[in-house]
Amino acid sequence: MTLHPKISRCADPQLVNDWHSVADMATLATKRIHQTRLLGVPVRLEVHTNRQPTAQRMDLGIAIDSVEKYGFLWLCLGTPQRPPPEIPEARETDRHCVTGGSIALNVSGLRTVENFLDMGHFPFIHTDWLGVEPHTEVPPYKVEITAENEVLATECTFFQPVASPTAKGGFMVEYVYRILRPYTVCLYKSNPVQTSRMDSIYLFVQPVDEENCVAHPFLCYLKDGIDAPTVRWFMQLIFAQDKPILENQLPKRLPLDPRAETPIRADASSICYRRWLRDQNISYGAIPSAI
């Protein structure tokens, strides 16, 4: 099978040799057979009568390894250098740890990660939920690259009218953002009931090709006062508000040249993410920097 001329094969070893979430197990079990692409490579997923999933590369006609984790099926096209991300809170029994409903997006997965980090758009895109005018200010926050080579943004605060399904009225919400891998991001957000603990939302982004992705959300919400369907409802409400915005971003790939777009101080985490990608020579889904 030949690839679409616009869609190049991935030449980034870090991405080829890593695990990527490619399907929600619940959806896969219903469909039985699901065809998708990972890093431009067509793959066929199948769930057999013994409930075991298998994966096949359609271009080479060979079976490839898969693992199930966090309710998703994960594939690696090369030789895995490490397991899928470790999520300690997924083992806490007082949390709903559920898949949030995978949604396909016609935009680079790197753009999707970057949008996830951005607080500036809350009042305009998530109006009356995650933000409301005139509370548009993004207060200064800290961003760093950690010893584990992750991007970490801390002390992020924002005024939110309905920060979560259990929120009663607006409050200043505290966020921590963490980019674990080029296509994996998560946020920790103060729980409105148990204010000393945080809910977490992971986004495992499947690079379908350079300009298409699937966002696979994984949610770890404290059970206190909320049921799992409501957790999913809120995630999909918010994410579907982002979808048309993301799909209309141009260019569809993420520009890594520092001169390509004009950031403001609120974009500090995005600037750090782009630089971090550049320094690791991640080019798939990006427009590489000229310098």
């Binding site: 995978s102 396909a104 369907p229 409802w233």
Partner: protein
Amino acid sequence: MIKLYDYELSGNCFKLRLLMAILGVKYEPVAVDFYPGLEHKSPWFLQLNPLGQLPVIDDDGYILRDAQAILIYLASKYDPSAKWYPTGSPNLLGEVCQWMAFADAITSTASAARLHDGLFYDFDIEACRTGAHRLFRILDEHLWFGEDQGNDWLCSGSHPTVADLACFPYVVLSEEGGISRQDYPAIRRWTDRVKRIPGFRVMPGIFPAGPGPKTT
């Protein structure tokens, strides 16, 4: 109070939320885990609607399925002006029913394309898009000629009807199924008019209208 068995991203659920917002009817949404939970195919839901489809309402024990049927019911019961479902005029009522059927055709094409692209449904995507464009061309021409006669809405008369609300959501969400509305200027003007109906509310993927033309 009316219970609406609801899924946030469903255009067919949205059109009921929209009519109830416009009419000022209070309701209690019951979130159904449509995706990825497939709760609309679960035994408890199939008892409400054996077709396994959203939306369904429960109005004080009266259970009704089908978005278009529910629009008719709600308008007949809660709109004392009888403008949204104009039972007084046979001609107008005929037009309303005609466009309600058209709304179902939009669902099986434009909405199906959106489910294919966004949520991995196995549909023939080219057939969905071709079908939607055929309908949009018919809709656009109808609206264009209507505007020429001074009609703002799908049916003749000066007031919008449930037919406008029935057709609106999956037209406005069509880009999510890869169906551009660039070639349908009259559709774009009509969707803006719908968005300016007092009481209009949004859903994810549908934005409010920009500032309108100044009225004097």
